[in-house]
């Protein structure tokens, strides 16, 4: 079970950004902060330059799809060399919303955000080069969304570029219909 957690860092964040900090907690010894999306860039900038333990290294940036409340949870995992500690910052956005890119804070976010865009279709504002990275440019659909069925394939793409029938019976609409009743135990 997540336990409430606080630290000078959380206090400083709350003092500076007020209601932007939703909650902070710890799960299996891993500290997490939930924030709102509006001032994400400023918050990340603050964390990167925070003294005495600046989070100078962005370990990973990824997303989790929660179709039940039509939202994506963006997860930023960062590490501070000074404190030898990681911090996880989470931010929920609605499926149709975009979020500010953090490439200007950590250059490493460039490819990580491109991958999130590629897999989830999340649009980052002010990203220098937001395009697909692992999948072909003209691929339809975002595979890591929960409504993208496991067996789904862009049949049109396969036909056009490989000149074969993909053999997949699944089309987007069918898969959507099937995933419609997806219920997560957490909800």
């Amino acid at each position: 079970m997540p336990e409430p957690w606080t630290s000078p860092l959380v206090e400083a964040l709350k003092a500076k950004f007020g209601d932007q900090v939703v909650k902070s907690y710890s799960f299996i010894g891993q500290n997490q902060i939930e924030i709102k999306k509006d001032r994400v860039l400023e918050i990340m900038m603050f964390l990167r330059d925070y003294e005495p333990s600046p989070f100078s290294y962005l370990v990973d940036e990824t997303a989790v799809h929660w179709p039940k409340d039509e939202s994506f949870e963006l997860v930023y995992i960062m590490y501070s060399f000074a404190a030898n500690d990681r911090l996880r910052v989470k931010c929920r956005i609605k499926e149709w919303e975009s979020i500010e890119s953090v490439v200007s804070v950590w250059p490493t976010a460039n490819w990580l955000e491109r991958e999130v865009y590629d897999m989830f279709g999340i649009r980052y504002a002010n990203h220098p080069d937001l395009k697909r990275i692992l999948l072909p440019e003209d691929w339809q659909g975002f595979p890591l969304r929960k409504d993208y069925n496991f067996r789904l394939q862009d049949v049109e793409w396969v036909r056009k570029h490989l000149g074969i029938e993909s053999g997949q019976k699944y089309y987007v609409a069918e898969a959507r219909a099937e995933a419609g009743d997806y219920v997560t135990p957490q909800d």
Binding site: F27, L58, T62, F81, N84, R88, P107, T108, L134
Partner: protein, 371 residues
């Protein structure tokens, strides 16, 4: 001579290196913008090996996903397996028994040596030193034989299970490993006589692909590539996992952050791995191999991030569980993917031939980048 004129007039040309090119270590395409022989800009095109590993993780049970992970970084499959098993164990609140921890540590370190040997051989081959390749593969073979005797596979080993290891050590394992680590440091010396003071090698690697410590951290470099820039950061020391806290070893670092320093770091790392295995091999505790876990694995609701020091850098797993028999979200943080991102800033301004050296020094595996 109008054709000649056009040739001379064109100040910039764009060429595509790969995806079918031996020195890109797989299917990596690099688009290069060249001014004569100088690189003005570079762009990596990846994804040729994409198999949807993360999607598979969300559609297979927690245990079924492990063999798939071996196929990401296929030359360091043991590390992939260890990282994932530990992550799930942590989420479940289970600890593998000490005997399993020791076996894991020994196998992972042997795997690190074999991965570095493959890097050494191919990197030297790319730059033009043919001989090292043959020597490096000779020793790598010894390690792969040990793996084969232990679990039946050489590359995609699937060595560990969630909760411990499946196989008991075979008879003669300790002797074989001891023979290997006794002879290995001299072998490293042997490779070094071929390269370390070789004028061509120095000429091709000194001052090539330089990256400062600050830039390296900002771009997210980890592993030997980061240590080559002088940052003494190793997850085995910073956040010890498996049985690493029981052993003594040093973290080698470079000074200039160039290809030569990263070469020196990896050479020293092989010796240090040998040292760790030497300390562990005599002290393998007795006891069970598996912790008590249920047949059907259902971790509690929640999320976790855990990472290990793979031969290439920080290999992390971010898992979200909704209490079901499969992961709700299974994310891999592959070291090669993030490291390759640094290629652009490392090659801009250098010669075309240096691109090959920089790709080699980053030690990438495309299976892991594309997943």
């Amino acid at each position: 001579m109008s054709t000649n004129e056009t040739l001379f007039d064109a100040s910039e040309i764009t060429i595509s290196m790969g995806p079918q090119h031996p020195s890109t270590h797989g299917v990596l395409q690099v688009k290069l913008k060249l001014d004569g022989e100088r690189v003005d800009d570079a762009e990596c095109v990846i994804g040729y090996l994409h198999r949807g590993v993360e999607k598979l993780g969300e559609n297979q049970t927690w245990g079924q996903w492990v063999p798939t992970l071996d196929r990401m970084d296929y030359i360091a499959a043991v590390s992939n397996c260890l990282g994932y098993c530990e992550t799930v164990e942590k989420l479940m609140g289970v600890t593998a028994p000490p005997r399993a921890q020791y076996i894991r540590t020994i196998m992972t370190e042997l795997n690190r040596i074999s991965s570095h040997l493959l890097w050494l051989g191919t990197h030297a081959l790319d730059i033009g030193a043919m001989t090292v390749f043959l020597y490096a593969f000779r020793e790598r073979e010894e390690i792969l034989k040990i793996f084969e005797n232990y679990c039946g596979a050489r590359l995609t080993t699937h060595m560990f299970r969630i909760g411990g290891t499946q196989y008991e050590l075979y008879e003669g394992f300790q002797d074989e490993v001891k023979t290997f680590i006794k002879g290995f440091p001299q072998k490293v010396e042997e490779y070094e006589t071929l390269l370390t003071e070789n004028r061509i090698w120095i000429g091709r690697t000194r001052g090539v692909g330089v990256i400062s410590a600050k830039d390296a951290i900002a771009i997210g470099l980890t592993g030997p590539s980061l240590r080559g820039s002088g940052v003494a950061w190793d997850l085995r020391k910073a956040k010890p996992y498996a049985a690493y806290s029981d052993f003594e070893f040093d973290i080698p670092v470079g000074e200039h952050g160039d290809t030569y320093d990263r070469y020196m770091v990896r050479m020293e790392e092989m010796r240090q791995s040998c040292r760790i295995v030497g300390q562990a091999i005599d002290k393998i505790p007795d006891g069970p191999l598996m912790a008590k876990i249920t047949k059907i694995i259902k971790p509690p609701v929640g999320d976790i991030y855990h990472s290990i020091e793979a031969p290439k850098g920080e290999l992390g797993y971010y898992l979200v569980s909704d209490g079901a028999t499969q992961a709700y979200r299974a994310r891999v943080r592959p070291p090669s993917f993030v490291n390759l991102q640094a290629l652009r800033q490392m090659v801009i301004g250098s010669m075309v031939a240096d691109v090959v050296a920089v790709i080699g020094t980053l030690d990438i595996v495309l299976g892991e980048i594309d997943r």
